[in-house]
Symmetry: D2
Subunit: 303 residues, 4 copies
């Protein structure tokens, strides 16, 4: 039976050495650190992992090393965002071969795709592997926007698609997806500032890069929701929100790598054309991280 | 001291007689019915009240009759959405004279306004009355989008502005407003499908036309949030959501008047060019209302 | 037979006296000045005329006075942008009674209208008068966007609608409208910076407030197009473009009234919340107007 | 001295054999056919050439073969749209080495780029080659929108950037770019339905895939503009417009390859997830191509 994805799904960055190559040792260390902090699953090669900027060889190295580093302690879902169907199938098979528990598939558009083309893309990938697929909707990076109606149809027509990650930041889509699938398809939130609302709305998990810099608060938020405690969840979310706002505004690889360096961890710089944080932004981030240290205070009243 | 606005703030429609005139008796009856159902405040002459479609005389009739009908049982906030500053001042003074507890002010744009023009508009209205102002942001109907930064500035520079109604449906603006005002300015949700998320995020109230057709579920949602019970709140919200989706999609006056007729209450039709529901849409609404009758079931698990 | 609208259709501002009342003498003078400058038609009570900000009485005064001032020297089209169908009919009849040659009808939305509602709105107005209707599409101010397909359908179903003014600034809509109507419906450009392209594409005229400040260049542009001279048209357009960019950016009533004042004509200020130009913007406008004085130079080459 | 790009710049598709490999012989034939038809320049590896869907090896094969096929008969500009700066530099050098006269550079975003990052990207590429760069703005496919102000700044700071291709379809940007650069930087239109307006506005050329299916009309349009004949240009444009509308709506590789097959040229199918035209769409295209055969009729009047 396949492993269950629930809770805080953490996205490691892909660390580079000074010569530009992937730093496999550091990648292993980053994943250990995330698992030690208590996150519920690991998702290598997501947007945070700069997967779009890697060569084929690098991608395979990162996928293999990440699954090996996780070593079955928590479930692993490997991100696949390829322009061509054949390219996606090749990576899907590779991910399965090296032991991923699931793949997260983002259809990428250069040319706009019809609904039939999107469905066929998922079906072809589903036919090529036996591990489950998390459908990933993120039009801001992929250029393809799948409405809840289309997503529900894909879930019905492609049996391997058993999970949905929504990153539009539009809460109504989650409600709509739940209505359309009668609650049978777990959905995951990929929009950091929407985490509190999405978990309230019943999201099975939160896909996030934040645990690279602070895992305690995302985990506390998830626990508060599971304990049915709005007040604690709100207070926790408001405490972590400045960090979420910052990493979304600046971009995940850039901000997370800068934050790791502030914490003494050398994960290198993002790939050009992405550039390191400016000194002013670095100071902002430093202040935000320092503010996370205190205890979240509980709101006294709701309204 | 001014009355406090908290909870479910209900927006009555403006009923018309066959000859097109306002049906004051029915307006009184509708308001009685809302208050009897337990709503916490009444907001005549909002979007739902077709205020934009009324002549000056009709507007004054509706304002005077509504405040009289409420008769102090709950707080009353009268909606003002005028293109000119002088027109808005005239209505603001009228609302105060007939006994409104507050006014809700939406700046309307034909020509785009600068920030300085918007601030001056609020300041001039604030100077003309002594009752508090609820700033209302609803770019979809007004053509003016006030970002949280501008709203926070208006709250600071115009002391009469002590409440904010946000209707963009963008939850992040509520979080941002709370950050910018250190939580000192109560905010209200005006986007029906966002009600659950907004109340979770700390909204002081929910401005809604839904209670015209069903007050029990909105009140139950608000109570569940006050009881700190996510599961009950979510189940209640999911139950009422199809009604909210319908009235937002079709338009509030059109759908609420049709729903009232289904419930045996003759509030007339909306003004042309708005037209009554088609028979097919009426049947949909009838089914949605019938489904609201059962008891909200509690979700068994959160994620 | 109805008069033909072709060429430069000029939009006068509505001048106000210090006490806020319409300055009928100045309105007459402004219209005389426009006609003397050679424009081909006059369009009172457009957006430029602040018609949205006028009371019913003021609107009737402006309509009656404008048509009287034109006195048949050129065709007159009176703008009507009313929220309710009955209100639009009332104004349409008034415009016909005082002698307008045509009316320009912009459907205004507070609540979004269905296609059936928009068509019925035009049909009801068409039934109430015998003068032709120029359909006006300007979603930025009206909140209603009529696609070419809908416009073509209205032209077919409502015989009074014999002209179309397009103000979206989307040139493709003009091509599409021409395709859909087989070139039988003349279209007019209402987006100032698109004037050159629209006339090239075959627009019957250009609806513009620019002649209040400079009629010579718009007329020269139109003449160059009629002479089939791209080079002269382009050079003329590039000369007047900074003025068009300025008045669109700042807003027509505000910028035109400021420009008139610079030219020694006291048309008053726009109505609050609109405010006069800042000194810096006034200086920009002054520079732009000064630059229009020289002769347009002809581009030496096309590419 | 570098070759001048002016007029109709044609974009060949990249033909594939049944086994998926690039069909180099057919690519050569397609380029011969385009040059024989009279186009003024060839642009391999643009969007039409499915460059985003090619492996590194395939891209190099297509670049080398295309430049060889052109054999200096007309100028060649090779398209480069790479996510990483290092990848773009590698391809730029390759293009120069195999004899391209210029490169067309589209910055691609997965993560949003700051202005500083975009400028540095162009500067690094400019430093790596000695042939001129055509900056390419196409936010719909690249996810990065460069405003005219930024483009003008890049032209100033990066001397190799001597041409600009604008594909937003926003005519005002071309006027603005001309204003900002005092007409010193030639601009090219990349939005097919805007071709007539852009050439009127002074575009140095039109970058288009249409000549794969019909070169006569685009060339006739360009000639009419050069002859300063609006009427002939308009009539020609209106004749070819249905083809332009179709290929833009359906997508360039898909529609052009289908059209070539209708003309008896086997260029294969686009790469999955792109799929061949449906039979209904193919019939539409067939009708459109048949209609292009007659002589463009001249409009009798302008308005």
């Amino acid at each position: 039976m396949s492993k269950k994805f629930e809770g805080i799904i953490a996205y490691p960055v892909t660390p580079f050495m000074a010569n530009g190559a992937i730093d496999v040792d550091m990648l292993t260390e980053l994943i250990d650190r995330l698992i030690d902090s208590g996150v519920h699953a690991i998702a290598p090669l997501g947007s945070t992992g700069e997967s779009a900027y890697l060569s084929d060889d690098e991608w395979e190295t990162a996928a293999r090393s990440s699954v090996a580093a996780v070593a079955g302690r928590v479930p692993t879902v490997v991100g696949i965002s390829e322009l061509t169907t054949l390219g996606a199938i090749k990576r899907a098979r590779f991910a399965q071969r090296v032991g991923a528990d699931a793949i997260m598939v983002l259809p990428i558009s250069y040319w706009k795709l019809t609904e039939a083309e999107i469905i066929a893309h998922y079906a072809a990938i589903g036919d090529s592997v036996s591990i489950p697929i998390m459908l990933y909707n993120n039009p801001a990076t992929s250029g393809i926007d799948m409405q809840p109606e289309l997503i529900a149809r894909i879930c019905k027509e492609v049996p391997s698609v058993t999970m949905v990650k929504e990153s539009t930041g539009d809460l109504q889509r989650m409600h709509r997806l739940k209505q359309l699938t009668n609650g049978t398809i777990p959905f995951y939130n990929g929009s950091n500032p929407l985490a509190f609302a999405a978990l309230n709305a019943g999201a099975a998990g939160w896909c996030t890069a934040a645990p690279n810099l602070n895992a305690e608060l995302p985990l506390a938020l998830y626990d508060a929701i599971k304990r049915n405690d709005i007040l604690a969840a709100r207070a926790t979310f408001e405490k972590v929100l400045p960090l979420l706002q910052f990493i979304v505004k600046v971009g995940l690889p850039t901000s997370v790598k800068a934050g790791l360096a502030l914490q003494g961890i050398e994960a290198g710089e993002p790939r050009l054309p992405l550039r390191p944080l400016t000194p002013a932004a670095l100071e902002d981030l430093s202040g935000i991280l320092a503010n996370l240290e205190g205890t979240p205070k509980t709101s006294a009243s709701i309204a």
